[in-house]
């Protein structure tokens, strides 16, 4: 066994180090400083970069929401103009989904999956870095339009303003001739590429890089949910990718996919979009279900209740999630059979979701519940997510949905699922794993203050929206008259939003304080169950001094209760690994960053293909094609050099005190 582990890629000596036959530039080796972050292949650093960018965009999306709520605070308000309002609600949705919740989940996938499966990195470390930088490119393209509000000569036409689901024919060149829509199309396309590449990597990592003894049914639930989410991503994103290609062709190359005058049917966009869009909501919520399934047992002091049922429910949700997309389209006149079928499938998907809720309650039942901050957010998640689920069930009945369609009732529903659900779980997860990755605790008192501010603020904001929606207030409305009966509800919701904003500010301010001043903590501050708590906080570059043998579902719990057995195993693993040359680690690389930069140059110029290139008011080129091609060439060249460079690698040797030394170029 120990021999096999020692040969494992990134767990032992794999390949001989690549010879310097094909080197354009020296491989970076910096461990600290800017270059180490730009060229990193370490899943923990990549996870932190994802997390940092995601929190930045989470706050930007939150500011957008506060501007929306301020505009709606009183009737006939003129706080912002209607055009800016359109840009704000479009970018609020797009930002929160693609640039906040998804990358925050990606951050946790990166931080936790390799450690929870007992590996030293993901299966394809450079590909992982590529996903990150491609994501940055997509985020840039989506937001670059804001700049034209600041510098009017950059004529992007403002930020995208077609709604987060960009329904045809609004995206037609006739109705939105601005570049903002082209940038939106390519920005989403590139974010999709990033997600697919990252998901392929995680699928291989979870299935293929498990430590010895870690059978699939011993995987932490979080890893299971990450696996299901990754499959959803690779199977759902292609639908929107093709839909976006079709819109791009319609806008730039004269095709007629969604152009009624040319025989196209705009309804096709809705189908393709929601074939992606509905699995997407499970992509957003399944990882949070994973965090909660890790946090509840820790603070209930009990193993997770009904582990196999929770796993199978997660898989079932992923599976049925592909068969419910048309419940977003009940009012489009699909016909009785289709409407009935999608209605039933939507009701059916509530069953595995409900099963999970009961399992979480079963986990709490009879436990010794410790109401630490992560647990408060996790309990809030169960309650708030259930409320969102109840209004979701109401939507599944097509006749009721016909009344609720495009009203604030829908806004209330999905904010209960996405804030009360996904965001509460993410805030729980950030608080729970912060000590692991920064080595410092977040103060309980201020964490609880932020929890109560967020909890109360959230409910004050969104609970009144149920009534506003049932009273007929439509979505995406810039303003409203004072005689509609919506004044009190809107004012209350806006006050709630300010409270929620204060809560979120408190939450992150406390995190920043804790990063510098928080009380230092050891390996296992929460008395946890899974492998990440068995290694130092923050984890060393190589994660594990010895690759663990997994004996039970709660692997670290077993280790804590069988210390002699584990110590002997670990000594054997370390010995075997050292005899194979030490701990094998992948080398850093410039090429993922270069390839992503080439892609960014190509996409940014391709979006404005038919426009002349201007510089200082003079026309330099008649179209952006040469610049787009240049970007493409840079990308292909970088990818080719990447493949020539090889995975490389070096070895880490640990002495008796755990101090690491590195060696390069040795043969094993």
């Amino acid at each position: 066994m120990a021999e096999a582990i020692a040969k494992h890629a990134f767990t032992g000596a794999g390949h001989p180090p690549a010879k310097a036959t094909f080197e354009l530039m020296a491989r970076p080796t910096a461990k600290t400083g800017l270059i180490s972050w730009l060229t990193t292949v370490d899943h923990k650093k990549i996870g932190m970069l994802y997390g940092g960018f995601a929190i930045l965009f989470f706050l930007i999306g939150g500011l957008e929401a506060l501007m929306i709520r301020t505009q709606l605070m009183v009737p006939n308000n003129r706080f912002i103009g209607a055009q800016l309002y359109n840009e704000l609600f479009t970018m609020h949705g797009t930002t929160m989904i693609f640039l906040a919740v998804m990358p925050l989940n990606a951050a946790f996938f990166n931080l936790l999956i390799p450690i929870q499966v007992g590996a030293r990195d993901v299966a394809f470390p450079r590909l992982n870095a590529f996903s990150l930088w491609v994501w940055v490119v997509g985020a840039f393209l989506l937001n670059v339009g804001w700049l034209s509000h600041i510098v009017p000569s950059w004529q992007f036409g403002g930020a995208p303003d077609v709604g987060w689901f960009g329904y045809a024919p609004l995206t037609s060149k006739v109705f939105t001739p601005d570049l903002s829509t082209d940038l939106w199309v390519l920005g989403l396309q590139i974010l999709g590429l990033s997600s697919i590449v990252a998901s392929l990597n995680f699928i291989v990592t979870i299935i293929n890089m498990r430590a010895p003894g870690l059978t699939m049914m011993r995987l932490p639930v979080f890893c299971w949910m990450a696996l299901v989410t990754s499959f959803l991503l690779i199977l759902a994103l292609p639908a929107i990718a093709i839909a976006l290609v079709e819109v791009m062709f319609d806008r730039n190359f004269g095709t007629n996919f969604f152009e009624v005058s040319g025989g196209g049917q705009p309804i096709l966009w809705q189908h393709l979009f929601w074939v992606f869009g509905h699995p997407e909501v499970y992509i957003l919520i399944l990882p949070p279900m994973g965090y909660v399934s890790e946090i509840l047992p820790t603070f209930a002091r009990k193993p997770l209740f009904g582990y196999p049922i929770i796993v199978f429910s997660g898989v079932a949700i992923g599976f049925i999630g592909f068969g419910v997309w048309s419940h977003h389209m009940f009012t489009t006149g699909m016909g009785v059979v289709a409407t009935a079928a999608f209605s039933i499938a939507t009701m059916a998907i509530a069953v595995p979701t409900g099963v999970k809720i009961f399992n979480w309650i079963g986990t709490l039942w009879g436990g010794q519940i410790m109401t630490r901050v992560p647990m408060m957010f996790a309990l809030g998640f169960i309650w708030m997510f259930m409320l969102g689920g109840f209004s979701g069930i109401m939507h599944s009945a097509a006749p009721a949905d016909a009344q609720q369609q495009d009203s604030y009732f829908v806004i209330a529903h999905f904010h209960y699922v996405l804030i009360g659900g996904a965001t509460f779980a993410l805030l729980a997860a950030i608080h729970y794993w912060f000590p692991k990755f920064f080595g410092r605790m977040v103060p309980e008192f201020w964490g609880k203050v932020s929890f109560w501010l967020i909890f109360v603020g959230f409910n004050c904001t969104f609970f009144p929206m149920h009534f506003l929606g049932l009273n007929g207030m439509p979505r995406r409305t810039w303003t409203y008259d004072s005689n509609m009966g919506w004044n009190e509800g809107n004012f209350f919701a806006t006050m709630g939003a300010y409270l929620l904003g204060l809560g979120i500010f408190t939450y992150f301010a406390v995190l920043v304080w804790s990063f510098f001043k928080g009380q230092k903590c050891g390996n296992d501050p929460w008395d946890g169950r899974t492998l990440e708590w068995s290694i130092p906080s923050p984890p060393p570059e190589h994660n594990f001094a010895a690759i663990p043998n997994v004996h039970a579902r709660d692997a670290w719990w077993y280790e804590k209760t069988h210390q002699d057995e584990i110590a002997a195993e670990k000594a054997a693993h370390i010995k075997a690994e050292e005899s194979h040359g030490g701990i094998h680690m992948p080398d850093q690389s410039w090429y993922p960053l270069f390839a992503a930069a080439g892609l960014g140059l190509a996409a940014f110029n391709f979006a404005q293909l038919h426009h002349p290139v201007m510089m200082m008011g003079n026309q330099v080129l008649s179209s952006h094609l040469p610049l787009a091609l240049t970007g493409g060439v840079i990308m292909v060249a970088a990818l080719y050099l990447w493949s020539l460079e090889g995975p490389g690698g070096y070895h880490i040797h640990l002495d008796a005190n755990g101090n690491a030394t590195e060696s390069r170029g040795d043969h094993h």
Partner: protein
């Protein structure tokens, strides 16, 4: 060949949890994803075939079913050569691997050349463009996406072919490698953009001499590039590539076979069904 060559097990990788090599699993997962890309495109095509607007192009009047059947056959045969390339590298036979890789690439180029001829013919003679009918929009997008997949496959095979020449020892070689790849790419590009379409035109009765003089520049460049490819292919010293790289060839093989299977579906759904 390395001394431990006989111990390589091509069907089980002891270093992974499942025994499946990581690269292979990655490609399988990617192909699952790619299925959905083509699924969305084929669905779009069929939706609009079932609901054609007035004045839509009539497929059977546009298609040249004999030519497409021929290039379909060639594409399927390229899969045979691909399988032989995998088989050769699993036995450590680099010479045969190179031959089969080149054969696969050339058959791929015949297919692509057929598509270049087809597209040019449809636009110039049948007057069906990307934008003048919904059939044109869906047809060119779907078959064009497939053609792009084949072209990427040819590029990947070309990179693999050039990689087989990477010397086992030595400090430099990057420029030589780039020049080699550029020559291979040039030969392939000239084949599918000019040579194969001209050949088809010749078969349909265009005078060969005129075709030669009309495309003299690309043919000349192609001939020079071909000579360069031959020159680089002289047997050199020991190479780094060997039986241990079988998984790399097999991974590209997976992709290549998948693209063929997708073509079988497209050929059936887009072409053959129109003749029922």
């Amino acid at each position: 060949m390395s001394s431990h060559a006989a111990t390589i097990d091509h069907h089980h990788d002891a270093t992974t949890s499942t025994g499946i090599p990581n690269k292979k699993l990655l490609w399988w997962a990617f192909l699952a994803s790619d299925c959905m890309f083509f699924g969305a495109l084929i669905s779009t095509h069929l939706v609009y075939r079932l609901n054609p607007p007035p004045g839509n192009a009539i497929p059977t009047q546009v298609f040249n079913i004999e030519l497409t059947s021929f290039s379909t056959f060639i594409l399927l045969m390229s899969s045979l050569l691909m399988a032989l390339a995998v088989n050769a590298i699993q036995k450590g036979n680099i010479r045969s691997t190179r031959t089969m890789l080149l054969g696969t690439m050339f058959f791929g180029c015949i297919f692509l050349g057929g598509q270049v001829y087809e597209f040019a013919h449809f636009v110039a003679v049948k007057k069906m463009t990307l934008s003048n009918s919904i059939f044109g929009s869906t047809f060119y997008t779907l078959t064009g996406t497939h053609g792009t997949h084949v072209a990427i496959g040819v590029l990947l095979l070309g990179m693999m072919y050039v990689r087989t020449f990477k010397p086992a020892h030595g400090e430099s070689g990057l420029l030589r490698n780039f020049a080699h790849l550029a020559a291979v790419c040039t030969v392939m590009a000239v084949s599918f953009i000019w040579l194969v379409p001209s050949g088809i035109e010749a078969i349909y009765g265009a005078p060969v001499g005129e075709l030669l003089s009309h495309h003299a520049v690309p043919f000349g460049i192609g001939a020079v590039a071909l000579a360069v490819v031959f020159w680089f292919a002289r047997s050199g010293g020991e190479v780094e590539f060997g039986e241990k790289n079988a998984i790399d060839v097999e991974a590209i093989g997976l992709y290549w076979h998948f693209v063929d299977i997708v073509w079988i579906i497209i050929f059936t759904a887009v072409y053959l069904l129109e003749y029922l």
